[in-house]
C-alpha cells in the first residue's frame, strides 16, 4: 500500500533553520528537539563506508537480493502479466525524477511491475516509497527493504531525489488506491495533499506520471471487512475475487490480467526555486490535481481501446 500521504506531514529539513520556534505548549516542547542555529553548508559529499563486508546499503537494499528477486519476478512480468510499455523513453536516463502512478489491486501488483520494467529496460535503480506499515511487518518488511522499498518520509525522498539524483516511485493515492472495491476500478482517489508535488519542487526534479491498466483486474476486491482490518491493524482487510476462485492460494495469487503501462510527458517546475522552506499551497494543489486529471484521462483512453482484460 505505497503511500505518498506522509510526504507532507513534516517537511524536508534543508532550509529550515529554526524548527524549535514552532514548538507549541508544554507537549510540543518535548516533541520538538532543541535547535541552536549553526550556519548550514551542504557541500560535503555523502560518504558511504568503503570497508563494509555485507551488501546491504544505506537504504536497506541488497543487490544480491534484488538480483534474485528480479530473476524470480521476471517470468511473472513477462509471461503472466505480459507487461507492455509505451513511452519508456520519457523516463530520464540520468538525474533524479519522481515517478507517480495510479495504484490498484489488494496486494498492489503495479509497484513491482513498474520497478522491474524500468530497472531492466533502463538499467537504473528505482526506489519505491511506501507506507511505514511495511516496516512494521517481520520478514515481509525486511524483504521489502532489501528489494528496494523505502519508508515514504519527506527527508528520505529529498535525499534520494536531490542529493543522490535517483528515480523514485510513489503512489500519491496511498492505500486508498488499492483499497477500493472492484466497482470503483480505474477511478483515481484523491492524490493525498499533494506532498509529492512539493517534494519534487523542493528537490528540483521533474514528475513523470504513468498510467497503469491491468493491475485493477489482477486482484480485485469484492468487499472489505472493516472490523477485521481494525482488529489486525491493517489498512484494509479485503475479500478478493482471487480468494473466492482460488481458495487459500488466492490470498497471494494474481489473475493473469494484461498489463499496459503508458508513460506520460514529464512535468517540470523550472519556474520555482528548489530548496525552499514552503511552496504555494494553491500551486501545489493545482499541479497535483492537473497530474491526477491527466492520468485519469489517459486511463479512460486506454480503457476505450482495451478489447479484453486478459489479452489487452
Amino acid at each position: 500500500m505505497p503511500e505518498a500521504d506522509r510526504t507532507r506531514t513534516s517537511r524536508a529539513t534543508r532550509k529550515q533553520p529554526d524548527r524549535v520556534g514552532s514548538a507549541r505548549g508544554p507537549e510540543g516542547e518535548t516533541a520538538a528537539l532543541v535547535h541552536l542555529p549553526v550556519p548550514e553548508r551542504h557541500d560535503t559529499p555523502w560518504s558511504v563506508d568503503p570497508t563494509r563486508v555485507g551488501d546491504v546499503d544505506e537504504w536497506g537494499r541488497s543487490e544480491n537480493m534484488r538480483a534474485l528477486a528480479r530473476k524470480l519476478y521476471a517470468p511473472l512480468y513477462e509471461k503472466w502479466f505480459r507487461v507492455e510499455w509505451e513511452g519508456l523513453d520519457k523516463i530520464p536516463t540520468e538525474g533524479g525524477a519522481l515517478i507517480v502512478a495510479n495504484h490498484a489491486a489488494a496486494i498492489p501488483s503495479d509497484a513491482p511491475a513498474i520497478m522491474h520494467g524500468i530497472e531492466t529496460e533502463l538499467e537504473r535503480p528505482v526506489y519505491g516509497l511506501a507506507d511505514q506499515y511495511f516496516k512494521r511487518l517481520p520478514f515481509v518488511g525486511t524483504m521489502w527493504a532489501r528489494t528496494g522499498g523505502v519508508v515514504a518520509h519527506p527527508d528520505n525522498a529529498y535525499r534520494l531525489l536531490r542529493e543522490q539524483q535517483q528515480l523514485v516511485l510513489v503512489f500519491p493515492e496511498g492505500s486508498k488506491g488499492p483499497g477500493k472495491t472492484y466497482n470503483e476500478r480505474y477511478r483515481l482517489r484523491r492524490f493525498g495533499r499533494g506532498g509529492f508535488v512539493e517534494i519534487a519542487m523542493r528537490a528540483g526534479v521533474p514528475i513523470v506520471p504513468i498510467a497503469v491498466v491491468g493491475a485493477e483486474e489482477s486482484m480485485p476486491i469484492l468487499f472489505k471487512l472493516p472490523a477485521l482490518s481494525k482488529a489486525l491493524g491493517l489498512p484494509y482487510a479485503p475479500i478478493t475475487a482471487n480468494m473466492l476462485l482460488l481458495g487459500p492460494l488466492g490470498t497471494v495469487g494474481y489473475f493473469p490480467a494484461k498489463f499496459k503501462l503508458r508513460v506520460l510527458d514529464p512535468v517540470s517546475f523550472d519556474d520555482v526555486e528548489p530548496d525552499q522552506l514552503r511552496y504555494s499551497r494553491s500551486r501545489i494543489m493545482d499541479e497535483s490535481e492537473a497530474i491526477r486529471q491527466r492520468i485519469q484521462g489517459e486511463l479512460y483512453d486506454m480503457l476505450r481501446h482495451r478489447r479484453s482484460i486478459w489479452f489487452g
Binding site: 541552536l36 557541500d43 560518504s47 563506508d49 570497508t51 544505506e58 519508508v151
Partner: protein
Amino acid sequence: MGRRVLVTGLGTFWGGRVAQALEADEDVDVIIGLDTDEPQVRLERTEYVRSDENYSILSRIVQATGVDTIVHTFLVIDSTQASSRTVHETNVIGTMNLFAAASAPGSTVRSVVVKSASLVYGCAPQDPYWFRETSRRSATPRTSIERSLLEVEGYVRDFATDNPHVRLALLRFSNVLGRDIVTPLSTALALPVVPKLAGFDPRFQFVHETDVIAAILFVMSQRLAGVYNVAGDGQVPWSEVASIVGKRTAPLLPYGTGVAAGALRRLGVVDLAPEVLSLLRYGRGVDNRRLKEAGFRYGYTSSGAVRAFAEEMRLRSTVGTREREYRYQEDVERWFRHSSAVLRNESNR
C-alpha cells in the same frame, strides 16, 4: 590566565577521559571534576569533588572557582544502569542545577558542552532513515529515559535563549562501541549468541569511543556552538554486526518481545531495555555531516567501530578481563596535589 574547566561525571568513562585529555592541555589551568563516584582513571591535577547525583552543590562550586567552561558528560543514557528515579534526578534535576549555576548573576561560565545521545530522536517505523540535527521526533517518547533526555533538551534550549553570550554545544552520540565502554548493545554482542528479533534486520549506526572523546575535545577546542550528531559513516544491518563479531544470532519472537526480554533479564542473561528492543526492530540513523563540515574527522566508520570492538573482544576472550590499573585513594591524591614535597614546575605538569 588559562581556562578553568568543570567536568561533570568525572567517575564515568567519558568524564575521566575528557579530564585526562584536558590535563595535557597547557592552556587549561584548573580542572574540577564532579561525580557521585570516584574517578576510575589516573588523573594528575584534576580536583575531584564528590557530589550528590543532582548536583545541588554545583552553584557553590561555580561561584567559588570561577570556571569558564562546563563539560556535562554525566547524563545517563543507558536505562539498565539506573532506576528511573535516579535517571530523573541525574538527567533532569542535575542538568537543571547545572544550568541554574551557569546562568546565575555574575556567572563566569562562557562555554557549556553537553553530551547527549541520538536516543532523543526516538525510534519508530515512520522515522526518516537519517535524522538531521533539525529533524523532529516522529513518535511520542514512551520510556522514562527518553523523556528525561528530552527535558534536558528543553533546559538546553531555554539556557541558549536566555544566555546568548554563552557558547553552548549539544552533542548527540549514536550507539557507542569500543574497548572499555559497556553498553546494552556491547553486552548483547558479548553473549554466546546475539539476540535479534525474528524477521527484523534493522540498520545500526555506531561511533567508536575514541571518536566520542575526540568529538568532545574538538568542539571545545574549535569553540563550536550548536547541536551536532556524532556517528560513524554508514549503517550496518544487525545481522552483519553479529557476523563481524563472529556470532550466531538467536531470534526472539517479534510479538510479545517485552515478555521475552523480561524473562531474559530475570534469568540474568541480558537486560534488553524497551528502547534497545525498539532499536532491534527499527534501527536508527543520524546524519553526521554537520560535524564533518565543521572539520571533524572520524577515526572509525560504523562497521569499523564494530570491527575494532570485535578485535578487543577476541583479545579479551584470550587474556581475560584486564585488572583495573588504578584505584582512587583520597589521601594519596590529596597529598600529590597539595603537599609541599611535590615539585611543582611546568615540566611535571
